[in-house]
């Protein structure tokens, strides 16, 4: 993992001192709310429905046990005993007092963490494949490049007041687990024919009220040009991005209104002027960052297969969990484990302080002290010896963290929605809880197979509903909540935006409607190997509309 150098630590400490002073000046009345609001937002402090909310950055979702324990400590000391892991691989707390923020941030700084740039019109937390550095199908670890981007973008003087927020994601595998095509910039790390590393560069993707799939503007950008080319993109956006209308201020609108070819030409022109300047990355710098992300020294543990075989005989539930929540590691004796934060009927992404401490203990004992947060709101242990999987599973059972549903219909992404969020129009979490309860039966979930269900409580789409195989968008209509269903979305290497199937459903109807969609799929799939998304792409929306709306389907 990356460790702060003296400069990093001094910078974060200075920022804590600066924000502490700003908080004190606000509390004393020296600063007005209008003056203070942009300052608190630059430090991740929002005001929500019930209280302040603090969003803490977790760079590319990577945590040590020490850091996760501190997140548990924050939850316990300054909040109400839990935190919410987000789709930006961050964590947010729902109840901290403003007066406690300086102490809270000082505690975070003591473990090399902060809340800088988790809000505001700046470059936000750079996200990456949550299996980075471990997945068997990866070309190279994307995190060193995410870290280079993090260092470059932190309080970048030129890019701290962009037209709108800016999100970058990096993946290092053909299988896109970082949803790069719905980001402002998506980077696909790959090798060219000569075996050199570089990036396919995508620009202008995003969700929100105007969902768009990013356009590929470069097939292969050599790695040394990562910062110069990104700077060129940012400059063109900063200069031409719309500042007259916040709903049209993201780079996706600039790409759409300018045209991909013209915008690419502008970026190329800007890049040619700077590409061989100071932003060109020396190999020594890349290698220096790479070393922080070296694969741990993984000793041979060939006894894993036999151990799993025996444990399966002992526990059917363990076997189901292995099949569902464990994926192949690049080392044959090891595996990547998904710890589901989607217990049946639970709020997606929420974890108690005790659960965080438990995961930290497990990671320290069995997983080389490393934890990841996935954008799907789960936790990941990237390096676990297969021989230790049963021991890990048994510990997870202690914390009710053993739900075997990774990638299944109850592994739902949901934003906080109207239960917490000041922007939301409808509740999200209770919808997720109800659907989870309805589909609780593990046999039924297995029968349905891979199905990504994502719920947002407003058009800002923090719950990624546009790229849900089944997406649900909550709106407010005539003072009540109403839920629109979209179908066929996907945030992987074949990204698609879901299509609205028809009129919305009342709260008491939405779970039935989802069940109707699922039953329709089960009735029309060619066989069990045809996943929901594949079946939808084959048959289109018509059978689902017919099932949902009957004779009203055409009108819908």
């Amino acid at each position: 993992m990356y460790r702060y150098d003296e400069f990093d630590q001094a910078f974060v400490n200075a920022r804590v001192a600066e924000f502490s002073d700003q908080v004190q000046r606000r509390l004393s009345g020296e600063l007005t709310e209008d003056q203070f609001k942009p300052l608190r937002l630059m430090n991740g402090v929002y005001l929500q429905l019930h209280a302040y909310m603090l969003r803490v950055a977790i760079p590319y979702g990577t945590l040590s046990s020490r850091q996760l324990r501190m997140l548990a400590h924050i939850a316990r000391k300054y909040d109400k005993g839990y935190g919410h892991f987000t789709t930006r691989q961050n964590i947010q707390y729902n109840w901290p007092a403003l007066a406690d923020m300086p102490a809270c941030l000082a505690d975070l700084a003591s473990v090399e963490m902060h809340a800088i740039q988790t809000s505001g019109n700046c470059i936000r937390n750079v996200t990456a494949d949550h299996f980075a550095g471990a997945a068997a199908d990866e070309v190279a670890d994307p995190r060193p490049y995410a870290e280079i981007l993090r260092q470059w973008s932190s309080v970048h003087p030129e890019f701290s007041y962009l037209p709108r927020k800016f999100k970058i994601a990096v993946t290092g595998a053909e299988r896109d687990r970082a949803a790069i095509q719905v980001h402002d910039i998506g980077l696909h790390l790959k090798k060219n024919e000569a075996g050199e590393l570089g990036f396919a560069v995508y620009v202008g993707g995003g969700q929100g009220r105007t969902p768009m799939i990013a356009k590929k503007i470069k097939d292969f950008l050599p790695e040394e040009h990562l910062l110069s080319y990104t700077t060129a993109i940012m400059r063109v956006y900063n200069l031409h991005g719309r500042r007259d209308n916040k709903y049209k201020a993201r780079i996706k609108i600039l790409v759409h209104e300018t045209g991909t070819a013209e915008l690419s030409a502008q970026i190329e022109q800007e890049w040619l002027a700077i590409k061989d300047g100071e932003l060109k990355l020396p190999q020594s710098d890349i290698q220096a960052i790479d070393r922080y992300f070296a694969l741990p020294d993984l000793p041979a543990r060939p006894e894993g297969d036999e151990a799993i075989k025996l444990a399966r005989l002992d526990s059917r539930d363990f076997g189901t969990w292995v099949d569902q929540n464990v994926i192949t590691h690049k080392h044959p004796d090891y595996a990547c484990v998904t710890i589901s934060l989607k217990g049946i009927g639970e709020a997606p992404g929420d974890a108690s302080d005790a659960q965080m401490n438990l995961v930290a203990d497990i990671a320290e004992r069995y997983a080389f002290d490393e934890i990841r947060v996935s954008h799907e709101q789960n936790l990941i242990l990237p390096h676990v010896a297969r021989a230790d999987l049963k021991a890990v599973y048994d510990r997870l059972v202690e914390g009710q963290l053993h739900t075997a549903n990774a990638g299944l219909i109850t592994d739902i992404i949901a934003c906080p929605g109207l239960d917490y969020c000041a922007l939301a129009n409808a509740r999200s979490i209770p919808v997720a809880q109800e659907i989870s309860d309805r589909f609780a039966d593990p046999v039924r979930q297995q029968e349905i197979g891979e199905l990504k269900l994502k719920i947002s409580g407003c058009i800002n789409a923090c719950g990624h509903h546009h790229v849900g195989h089944i997406g649900i968008l909550g709106v407010e209509k005539k003072g009540t909540e109403l839920y629109q269903i979209t179908l066929g979305g996907s945030g992987d290497e074949v990204t698609s935006i879901g299509e609205i199937v028809g009129r919305g459903f009342a709260p008491e109807e939405i779970t039935d409607a989802v069940e109707t969609v699922v039953d329709t799929y089960l009735g029309l799939r060619l066989d069990k190997s045809e996943k929901f998304l594949d079946a939808y792409r084959r048959v289109g929306a018509a059978p689902f509309k017919e099932a949902l709306y009957g004779s009203d389907a055409k009108a819908a």
Partner: protein
């Protein structure tokens, strides 16, 4: 009818204006404005709360009076007066500060009821 609400500066907790007790942590005692003049008086209270840095996000919200209790019209404000509906152990509802009339609509479908 309207009541005056805000979030307290120091901790962000939702508060409502009560004619007799000042800013309180429950909507129960909030007195709705019955006329334009009373609304203007509430607005003046809100402006002062902002000016003196007691509160932020100060708003007049629509309510109906049900059995003597102000019940917000919008579900957003009903949830704000109660706490998260998925965590009834948290917020006003857990602190005895929520009149039952003002509780948000539970999210329960007939199948699970």
């Amino acid at each position: 009818m309207k009541v005056l609400t805000a979030n307290r500066l120091t901790d962000g907790i939702a508060v409502w204006w009560c004619e007799t007790d000042g800013w309180i942590e429950t909507i129960l005692g909030a007195k709705p404005a019955a006329s334009k003049d009373e609304e203007a008086a509430l607005e003046a209270v809100g402006t002062e709360a902002g000016r003196t840095n007691f509160a932020v996000d100060i708003n007049l919200i629509d309510v109906n009076v049900v059995e003597g209790v102000p019940v917000p019209v919008r579900i957003r404000e009903r949830i704000r007066a109660a706490g998260p509906t998925n965590r009834t152990d948290l917020g006003k509802q857990a602190e005895g500060k929520l009149p039952p009339q003002a509780a948000p609509t539970p999210f329960i479908t007939p199948a699970n009821a």
